[in-house]
Amino acid sequence: MPQRRSWGRRLGVLFILLWSLVPLYWALNTSLQTDAQISSKPAHYVPPSPTLHNFHSLLVGSGEIPSTIRRSTINIFVECTAATIITVVLATLAAYAFARMKFRGRTLLFYAVLATMAFPAYTTLIPLYRIMSMFSLVNTYTGIVLVYVSGFLPLATWILHSYMTTLPVAIEEAGQVDGAGRMQVLWRIVLPLAWPGVVSTAIITFLFAWAQFLFPLVLSSDDSTQPLTVAIAALQGRHTVPFGLLSSAGVFAIAVPAVIAVLLNRYIVNGLLSGSVK
């Protein structure tokens, strides 16, 4: 019976793996073929003569496409990094306040922050666009980063709050007895203990920011601020789809989050599970 259950589990895992990885493999497979090979019948399940031609067209040279891709790669790093730093800093302060400081309406305020996660993000698109336009923040890094921060802050606060509530209060109290102020306690005692949670929050925020499309699409007007995700969509022609180029762009765009997910997955899992067991 246990053996049958074990086989069932293996089959389940295999199914989920295939379900998740086959599309990624197909993108990689397509990116390594020429246009003629891509549209040949029957389809090639393995590139017959692997070529980096699509990646070369995408990244190398002085043409419009490589130039746009390079600029949008810089943009996505700037926007994701800035959003991550600001979100983590603000979330740390907020989470600490909600976890440790006692003030009137704390619980209500905390749940109000969490409740904002229930709103579909797209309902805020037009109002945010108007606000950003009013403050001349459309097509600026500032506008995009601020929108990211407003979107990711509740989740980040929740994760860090969950993490901080698992830390022993006694250590902080000992620090206060020794004369440390709130900020010193936060900086010298809480943060070192909560570091894994902070790293988890940063990674999750960065990955979420990297995957954004609609908000940066609306809030950016040209390649001075367009992130990679938006620039890739622009590769599609009006009447033709450049499958090879789009696939190589997709592979390029998922490389960074894939590396982060593979190398730092224990932090991601840790962050998502924080507070689930006390």
């Binding site: 019948k41 603000l90 037009i126 890094y141 009006r238 009447h239 033709t240």
Partner: protein, 443 residues
């Protein structure tokens, strides 16, 4: 307590300072805020957002030199651009001085008063005689966009495959066309001779509109009421013909989930199918005759739409360019549009005067004079035929312009026709559902 309040203030101040510093430091790119329109037409920079690569830099530089207007070009894919236009129109904010006006969106955009009437800046009456497709952009009596290239649905046939089946004269009626399809299949030239993209997407809707026109009908009347509800109507017969085609093995079964552009690239361009009834004008030159993406170079030609008793019309699906009401420099944008859509520039962009002036992806001018120049110089494959079709048989899908509820209607069309093709509902039920949607939306 004082300490606690102090700590809170420090936390708050720190957070706000950080946001401000990063906000100031992170500012990049151009401004894009609220606008107040200016009539300046020199010494200004306008933003042009279109779903296509820009004209050659030398051409844009020449425009700047002659007018003093600098053009900042934003190239976005069509879907993304429509999202941006919808967001900007809804939020009533500036995002470009000139942008795309798609034939299918004119009803919505006109209702939102989102584009300036072009007659305010250009002699649209004079343009109409040279631009047959301008009527697709005139909802409510105002022209809200100028077609910047010509696009209509046209039948394409792989002549070589037709020849192999022993078909010596090209079909001129739907009956002949259908008989030819059966002959190609029965002779084993190809297993599935006809390409219909049955994926639940816009391409299926436009295919049905074109087939309906070939059957001699229209989709909606002037009040938006359905003209296809009963079995004796052309729209109903067109749907039946399309669904019968896949059920009788004339269309590849896999086409159930294939959208239009993919089918053209992977089936028609590879000689897997012999004909596409509603293809894009220009595909012969831009796709089927391009060796890198096609194995049927020199084999595909345009065909006058096989109709009930002779040549039928060709439905127009052009893209235009218009000026949003929140444009910063509408007059300058109008000057650009006048330049961009002039016959001589269009001919240049399509390759009439050398590769240096070619605009990538541009193949068919919207001005007849541009098409004529290209044809006379032998730079347009099927040029004379395309010119004749554009001049004489290209008709708007909706005579009064697409209704404001077009996207919902189109969704009903492709969803139900797709379902009929899969066999999950009958043609009668599909048509009933589509007609019901049209009645609901138009009342």
């Amino acid at each position: 307590m004082t300490s606690l309040r102090h700590t809170r203030n420090v936390l708050l101040a720190g957070a706000l300072t950080l946001v401000s510093v990063v906000a100031a430091g992170c500012s990049g790119g151009g401004g894009g805020g609220s606008s107040s329109a200016s009539d300046k037409t020199t010494g200004v920079t306008i933003t042009v957002a279109l779903p296509t690569a820009p004209p050659p830099q030398a051409s844009l530089d020449a425009f700047t030199k002659s007018t003093g207007i600098t053009v900042k070009w934003t190239n976005l894919d069509w879907d993304s651009l429509q999202t941006k236009i919808a967001a900007a129109a809804t939020a009533k904010t500036y995002f470009a001085d000139a942008t795309d006006v798609d034939w299918s969106r004119v009803g919505q955009l006109s209702k939102l008063n989102w584009f300036y009437p072009m007659e305010k800046y250009l002699d649209t009456t004079a343009l109409a005689s040279q631009m047959p497709q301008i009527s697709s952009f005139s909802p409510g009596g105002h022209v809200i966009g100028i077609p910047y290239d010509a696009s209509f649905l046209v039948t394409t046939v792989n002549k070589k495959l037709f020849d192999q089946a022993g078909i010596t004269s090209m079909p001129t009626t739907l009956d002949q066309y259908t008989a030819d399809l059966r002959q190609i299949k029965s002779k084993g030239v190809v297993q599935y001779p006809l390409n219909i993209p049955f994926a639940a997407a816009e391409g299926l809707s436009t295919y049905w509109y074109q087939t309906t026109a070939a059957f001699g009908g229209t989709i909606l009347d002037a009040n938006g009421k359905p003209q296809f509800a009963t079995p004796d109507t052309p729209g109903y017969q067109a749907a039946q013909w399309m669904v019968d085609a896949i059920k009788q093995g004339l269309v590849p079964p896999g086409n159930i989930n294939v959208p239009d552009t993919q089918a053209q690239q992977t089936l028609m361009a590879k000689g897997t199918v012999a004909t596409t009834f509603a293809d894009y004008s220009g595909n012969v030159g831009s796709l089927y005759n391009v060796p890198a993406s096609s194995s049927v170079v020199g084999q595909v030609q345009y065909l006058s739409t096989p109709g009930v008793s002779g040549a039928g019309p060709n439905m127009s699906n052009p893209d235009g360019i218009g000026i949003p009401v929140k444009a910063k420099y509408p007059a300058a944008a109008a000057k650009f549009i006048e330049w961009f859509t002039s016959a001589s520039n269009q001919a240049d962009f399509a390759g009439a005067n050398g590769p240096d002036k070619v605009m990538p992806g541009y193949f068919l001018p919207s001005q007849l004079a541009g098409v004529t120049e290209l044809t006379e110089k032998g730079k347009l494959i099927g040029g004379q035929q395309l010119s004749d079709l554009l001049k004489n048989s290209a008709k708007p899908i909706f005579a009064q312009g697409a209704p404001s509820w077009y996207p919902e209607f189109s969704k009903s069309v492709y969803t139900n026709l797709h379902a009929a093709a899969t066999g999950s509902m009958s043609v009668a039920d599909a048509i009933k559902a589509i007609a019901s949607t049209a009645n609901e939306l138009s009342s």
